[in-house]
């Protein structure tokens, strides 16, 4: 059975993914420890989203293995697979809220599917999850199209948290947000990370988010991953990493992080 305290929470070994002649992952290894916030970065087209889809089992990798809590996701029986899926939460880049359901119904969707609960209880749980991500209970009655970008990201997070996962996958959680909303999202994530003792895997392009929240970073270069702590990564001699972490945008984010005493 699943042991949510298994360490490492995620272990990817020798992952190969290719689309026709184009090789995206060429023996990628990745390990995510319990209770860390692991940031995945890489240039456009280096296969960050493909990596996430492979881990989530949405894409069958050409070769290699993906283990979550020590279970090989490819080899699980259907019932174990279901309990694995219920043990993590995912937010997609554009929120992927079901557009025909209200925000509250979106949050209740997995609860309704897996537990038979009274409407009143479901409403209260929706309230709780919305409050937890900093939305008002009133926002639950709105449809996704009535929400701003930042609220969509928060609502998606509320839905991801509905089944109380210990493991959270976030695909570009702050992309498309203004700096103030993005910073607020970073703070929310850090807060929930400590309060709920989450393990977080996050794809991000946002250097501020990276410096504010991540305890370790994995960089995808040439189909492989270089993982290190942030200070270690800053000293890495690889030219792409140097350029990424020492460009003008990175320097500003670094200074900001140093000032706040994070990172």
């Amino acid at each position: 059975m699943l042991d949510p305290n298994f360490n490492p929470a995620i272990r990817v070994r020798g992952l190969h993914n290719r689309f026709g002649a184009q090789v995206v992952h060429d023996g990628l290894d990745m390990e995510v420890q319990q209770h860390e916030i692991f940031g995945v970065v890489g240039g456009s087209g280096t296969g960050k989203s493909v990596l996430l889809r492979s881990i989530l089992g949405l894409r069958h990798p050409d070769s290699g293995s993906v283990e979550i809590y020590g279970q090989d996701v490819e080899k699980l029986a259907a019932t174990d697979r279901l309990s694995l899926v219920q043990s993590y939460g995912v937010t997609f880049q554009n929120g992927a809220l079901i557009s025909s359901l209200t925000v509250a119904q979106n949050v209740q969707l997995p609860l309704r599917e897996y537990f038979s609960l009274a409407e009143k209880t479901l409403d209260e749980l929706a309230d709780m999850n919305l409050l937890m991500v900093g939305l008002a209970p009133d926002d639950g009655a709105k449809f996704p199209s009535q929400l701003s970008g930042g609220m969509i990201k928060r609502a998606a997070l509320a839905r991801a948290l509905a089944l109380e996962p210990k493991l959270l996958f976030l695909d570009e959680p702050t992309s498309g947000l203004d700096p103030i909303s993005a910073t607020a999202f970073d703070e929310l994530l850090l807060y929930l990370h400590t309060q709920l003792r989450l393990t977080v895997v996050m794809i991000t392009h946002d250097l501020d988010t990276l410096f504010q929240t991540c305890s370790r970073v994995g960089v995808i270069i040439d189909g492989r991953m270089i993982s290190d702590t942030l200070p270690g990564m800053l000293k890495n001699p690889n030219p792409w990493i140097q350029e990424y972490f020492h460009g003008p945008r990175a320097r500003a984010a670094e200074m900001e992080a140093a000032k706040d005493g994070h990172g």
Binding site: S99, S100, L111, F115, S116, L117, A118, T121, E124, L125, D127, M128, L131, M132, A136, P137, D138, F143, P144, S145, Q146, L163, E164, Q195, L196, R197
Partner: protein
């Protein structure tokens, strides 16, 4: 008094207050059971209540929230404290609980006001819809009016594409259905008429029915199903992708680019399809007369000439452009109405097809009355 509840909860008096023992599985998986037992807690608790988490296994956030919510409902309020290694997220939940209380302090509207409000909103919505239809017609008229002084606005290539998609590609299905329906009418008609020895009138039946009514009506219904839905879906997806907004932002008029070419194309394609359907219908009637009634083809054609008045063919065909305008306008209008969600797209596509078929049949009825009145 010791009210022991099964499994998850046990309530015991404790000094001048209560002690609530939380036992067994308190994870999210046990939520339905916990929910039911929380409901059974006596409503009138008062004084101090101590929640003892010592024996609660793997406490989950949702059950803990349900517990907090339940204990907050007691009248008069109890003073709750937690002991026995309560879960780490309890502080967070208590903070959220205070925030929730603040958000909900406003009163809900009474039922009557809500009903009146609903009725009012519905009426306003109807008005808005009516206004929308008029504006839509006005915009089309404006574009068409302008196009006479600005030939580029006719968008010839776009019209040609839509003639191909709504007309040419519909030829096989329209032909087949017109042929089959007229065979069926001729066959059933022959069963009845041969009893009176009036076999030859099958020719009258088939030709008049096909040319006056069935050719154009069947074609219109098929086109409404094929192209009315396609128009609504295409424009609907463009609305959802903000493509129409992009066009407007570049100074282009979506009505001119998207709506008018479709209407024009259908106005051209539907009469042509109707002619094909008429021909196939007559062919079907002729074939059945030959095989079933042994009426040779020259005799069929001679009888056909006698049965037709000069207006029979035109009284069918003249309806086709009108039906085309109805189908194309309903389809495009519903498509342009799509907002926000995938469900709206599906709903409005359905509405487009149903309404355009209804409008076609309604218009056909009006034409029937009109033609009788003017003896067309």
């Amino acid at each position: 008094m010791s009210a022991t509840l099964t499994d998850a909860l046990a309530l015991e008096p404790d000094g001048d207050g209560w002690r609530l023992l939380l036992v067994g599985d308190w994870s999210l998986a046990a939520m339905p059971r916990i929910e039911a037992q929380l409901k059974n807690l006596p409503a009138a608790l008062s004084g101090n209540l101590v929640c003892d988490w010592t024996d609660a296994r793997a406490p989950g956030i949702s059950p803990a929230w349900a517990l907090l919510r339940r204990l907050a409902e007691t009248v008069p309020p109890v003073n709750v404290t937690h002991t026995g290694n309560p879960p780490h997220f309890l502080d967070l939940l208590q903070k959220l609980h205070v925030e929730r209380h603040a958000a909900y302090s406003r009163q809900a509207e009474p039922t009557l006001e809500r009903l009146v409000g609903k009725l009012g909103r519905w009426s306003v919505l109807q008005g808005v819809h009516g206004h929308g239809v008029i504006v839509f017609l006005g915009r089309i008229a404006t574009v068409v009016g302008e196009a006479f002084s600005r030939p580029r606005a006719w968008r010839g290539s776009s019209v040609a594409r839509h003639i191909y998609e709504t007309g040419i590609t519909a030829i096989p299905i329209v032909s087949l259905i017109a042929f089959l329906i007229s065979v069926i009418v001729a066959y059933l008609g022959a069963q009845q008429l041969s009893r009176f020895g009036a076999d030859i009138f099958v020719v009258d039946l088939v030709t008049i029915a096909t040319l006056r009514e069935m050719g154009v009506l069947l074609t219109s219904v098929i086109v409404a199903g094929r192209s009315g839905s396609a128009f609504a879906a295409e424009l609907g997806v463009m609305q959802l992708n903000e493509e129409t907004d992009a066009l407007r932002a570049m100074g282009m008029n979506p009505i001119e680019l998207l709506v008018v070419p479709r209407v024009l194309a259908l106005v051209i394609a539907l009469p042509l399809l109707t002619v094909i359907a008429d021909a196939m219908g007559l062919a079907g009637g002729g074939l059945l007369s030959l095989i079933n009634l042994h009426i040779p083809l020259p005799q069929f054609i001679a009888r056909l000439r006698e049965s037709l008045s000069p207006t029979t063919f035109w009284s069918g065909l003249v309806k086709a452009p009108v039906f085309a305008i109805l189908i194309a306008m309903v389809g495009t209008y519903r498509g342009m109405q799509v907002r926000d969600s995938a469900r709206e797209l599906g709903r409005l596509t359905t509405v487009a097809v149903v309404q355009s078929i209804f409008m076609v049949i309604l218009a056909d009825a009006l034409f029937a009355v009109l033609f009788v009145q003017i003896k067309f």
